[in-house]
Symmetry: D2
Subunit: 336 residues, 4 copies
């Protein structure tokens, strides 16, 4: 049985997902799409060699009797409405992050899903599907390093576009850690503090770069995340978990070791697209398989809500310089 997918939004990510579903993944096919620019959608389908229908809008995609499940890859501010509509229609929906433009919006989706009575929503956080993070989680879960006490993390980009501002360090960059570190530690954030080191001369004047974000979790784990988006040297994701009996570190991407020019070196990636490229495939394949199996297991609407609540507190902490509480409601039994 092939899962028939509708894709809302045929921009860069939407096209990428259409290609992925039709050519790389197993068990699914894109049968309907929509885009605010219908002509663009048609051209994209042609390029992608897809015979999917072009619907009038995202709601039409969701309603289409031919569509089994929906991918939301449209303009961020439309995510909430399309996701709610998919829940209303009782159709599984994979929504790219952000799930909504606010924690309240995420909460509305959570409430709608709980009311529906069954998980229908997966948020597009792909790091839990990265082989490196999965190996790291296995080490923790297997008890190899004892209980985690501290996490030292870094998220570094060589550079960022001109429109990138201080707040986007949270909403566009840290957002991935906000999700994956909850998943890794099976814990929730309790407080956050942001400190600003000396600003790099490589950063544009309106951007405070780097930043360090400090969390305390409910269990008392202390997490520090360095965000440095003008580090110049590469796209580099670090995560070190200090446990009671040892320390585990996220694998470096595999590369040829070179002895040359008085250096023993391995290559560091520079383009973020290369870093988690396989995780995108695994993530969407998992969604397809889970939909077919009748039970979603990936990042949930609750996870999207949690990331959003944490991001709001981070931004508050950026501005206040104080230790800000992260007030998460108790996790509903529905999401256990």
């Amino acid at each position: 049985m092939t899962l028939k997918l509708g894709v809302i939004g045929t921009g860069a990510i939407g096209q990428e997902h259409i290609r992925r579903c039709n050519n790389v993944l197993e068990g699914a096919k894109v049968v309907a799409v929509s885009d605010i620019n219908a002509e663009g959608a048609k051209a994209a389908l042609q390029r992608l060699n897809s015979d999917a229908d072009v619907c009038e809008d995202g709601f039409a995609v969701i309603q289409s009797p031919n569509v089994d499940a929906v991918l939301v890859t449209s303009w961020d501010p439309t995510h909430e409405a399309f996701t709610l509509a998919a829940i209303e229609a009782g159709k599984p929906v994979f929504c790219e992050k952000p799930l909504a433009m606010s924690a309240e919006g995420c909460r509305r989706i959570v409430d709608a899903e709980i009311k529906h009575g069954k998980r229908l929503v997966q948020v597009g956080f792909m790091r839990p599907y990265d082989a490196g993070y999965r190996a790291l989680k296995k080490v923790i879960t297997d008890g190899d390093i004892g209980e985690p006490l501290m996490l030292h993390c870094a998220h570094r980009n060589p550079t960022v576009p001109e429109n990138y501002n201080t707040e986007m360090a949270i909403t566009n960059t840290l957002i991935h850690e906000l999700d994956v570190l909850r998943w890794l530690t099976r814990d929730d954030y309790k407080t956050v503090q942001v400190v600003f080191p000396r600003i790099s001369s490589k950063a544009r004047p309106h951007l405070k770069d780097p930043q360090i974000v400090l969390f305390e979790t409910q269990k008392g784990i202390r997490i520090d995340v360095e965000i440095f988006v003008n580090c110049t040297y590469g796209y580099d994701i670090q995560c070190e978990v200090v446990g009671e009996e040892g320390i585990a570190r996220l694998p470096e991407p595999s590369s040829v070791q070179l002895r040359k020019d008085a250096k023993l070196s391995n290559t560091i990636l520079v383009d973020w697209k290369d870093r988690f490229i396989e995780a995108y495939d695994v993530e969407l394949q998992a969604f397809i398989n889970d939909v077919k199996a009748g039970q979603l297991t990936g990042p949930s609407a609750w996870d999207g809500f949690a990331a959003s609540v944490a991001a709001d507190a981070c931004i508050k902490a950026q501005k206040s310089g104080a230790i800000e509480p992260i007030e998460m409601p108790a996790r509903p039994a529905f999401y256990n």
Copy 2:
């Protein structure tokens, strides 16, 4: 268009390929199989949830008008006949190694394929599809280390079954290096010498383990390959290319770095199945794509023949202790 595959032989590897083609890869489906044990084949298909037909024998699979291309995963001595029959039928065939039981048998396949006038055969050498070897080859091809002068390689297994003998170090173990090193260097072997170090006390009495195989290539590159199949510590594949301007080394498989018990360590794989697991997928996907595109580009019948000629010389060198010539005929233009 889905490529309809016939699979000859539904043992362990055959079943693995059926699962792979039906569930993991894109653009192909297994529609017919055969096995010397027809009941076993039926049971396997049931377990694999496949509706493929069970044919009377491999020749029937090849003849079946429903079958576009053939995978040969049967008993080694039958490979040649099935591959020849597929060529005769003008159908693309992916044949697991060995292509034939002798260099002469491989040569018959080469001749048949040339006579047919178009490449139809891919041999199941998967290492050229491993991401690590591909990265290593790219470094060479890009000229990063200058012209290759020497290769230092190792092929180590933690242990081997009781029936494994000295000759199998060539035919079952070194055979992978025999193929991938030709591919890596775009060169052919000229001579071979085998030396036997002190035998490991971990090896069974009838097995000379380890062995070192020394090649000179047509271009004068010197290659040493350590074969050590009772190394106890892991399944470990090493390849270091010493060039005029630098040295490049096959990446170690990625793993979590641990600080524990006074050791800073990374895990070494112990099961060979884990080492190239992704390469099997890539290899077969490439075959499927190439068949659809109308042009095979993977390891050819000529490559299978070359590996077989080299293996024969290695076995001769094991016995003689002398430097043995490896006499390869000139590569036919057909295979350029």
Copy 3:
């Protein structure tokens, strides 16, 4: 010319320094010692094959016309008085840390030294003499990574004695970072904050372990130091400097790389004595050479004072949980 040294205090460290000066280093000889336990001192000299005189007390050592320079390795609370007496006598003095029991005490030494008009005091901070830290500093000074923006550090011990308490994490452990990071960055601390992660179950009940100490420097560099003295796995000192154009990391101690038991591993030291063993030699040799050359260049009384001021603020921050200022007076021109 051999420098004639007096050693005050012949406990473990004192004996170690006598051995070092007499047998390992060049250009000095221990000619006089004292200890609160004179019999113990005599026995030690005999074991060490030294013909040094045993003086009545430390002041007698200092006064001895035979003594050119003094090493203070006595009970911590006596350091200040002996150092002041050495200054008074105009003799160079190498004083093991702590220079005094309080910042005020250190300040009295600074004032006395300035009044004397020439540097006479070196404090026993040995990390600036470690080859690894020196290599790291060279990378920074050479501009290889641009201006430093952040330092991520860790000081981990496998375990600590029963009497070790929360405050000692600052005074006995962090004290080394307090000195070496000032030296590395050529910067002074501005504020400090201490956060307490979940306590390790390996720590005794009265000890909060681990701790994270967060500094801001005058130039705005942000430093985090993890102190974890029950980490179980080894004695591990980490220091990573994040600069505008790259990141440099303190070298791991050199060790044999092993492939064994499914692990690719290097040894981590477990005994702190092994980690900086060469630095102790280099440190004392530098003192000897500098005394002979007439100009001290190592860690100064001012450095001892600065470390003490910072340590006091750290302890205050441990208790308050707040961001505490570190109020260092301007560096006197005398110490430039």
Copy 4:
């Protein structure tokens, strides 16, 4: 008691040893020297701030009643005569390699020493004093990797002077491995074969570079040593010991790890002088200590003879292309 040393030959190495003995090492002083250029010797002593006497020739140094032990650092062809004279005079002698210009010459020294009845000679092989090789030997001796079966080694220089020829790859380069590998394995060579890879275009026309030298030892260990003296990228010494239960590798020199310009790198040394710089100190300090203790334990005249016998066979193998025997007489009980 200070050991009074005579130094024969005050060229670069002689001056280096004078500086070392007088300023770095403990328990010795250079009291007499000689050189074919007496004026040069005087100038050197002045530069080195040494009050040693300048004797008429090396024999006068040896005869001087003021001299306890002798360092021979003169022109290679004079080594044998000075070493024999020192034995004749019953004085301990440290002779830089080569001990003599031929195996026969070395044998004459061995015979004279045996006749004298007590070890007096240490040859200047410094690698057994390198901390890395010592750590590697400890791993072997401790049984961590089981019995050694194979050694894979490399000796690479970035470049060599114009006068360096093919034979010098043995006598000037491999000579260090010829000694240290015997010491590491406590074994003797049985046969040798040399193979010549494709010649690097970086090598001058008269030089066959690289070369691979293949040994079999008495115990059956197989050793391959790559000699590559125009490798361009650095001075790189590799030694990997493959044992029955694991593999141990010579430590890489410690260096700062850098993340910069899309590379994660460590520095490789380029100047051979930096690689074993500490080993020279340790080596000579050991000689001094051993002389004082009345029992030499370092590389012996027998070791010098063994290296010379092996080197002769290597050169024969370079020319013949055949597997050449290395015929070592049985080790006299005197050297056990």
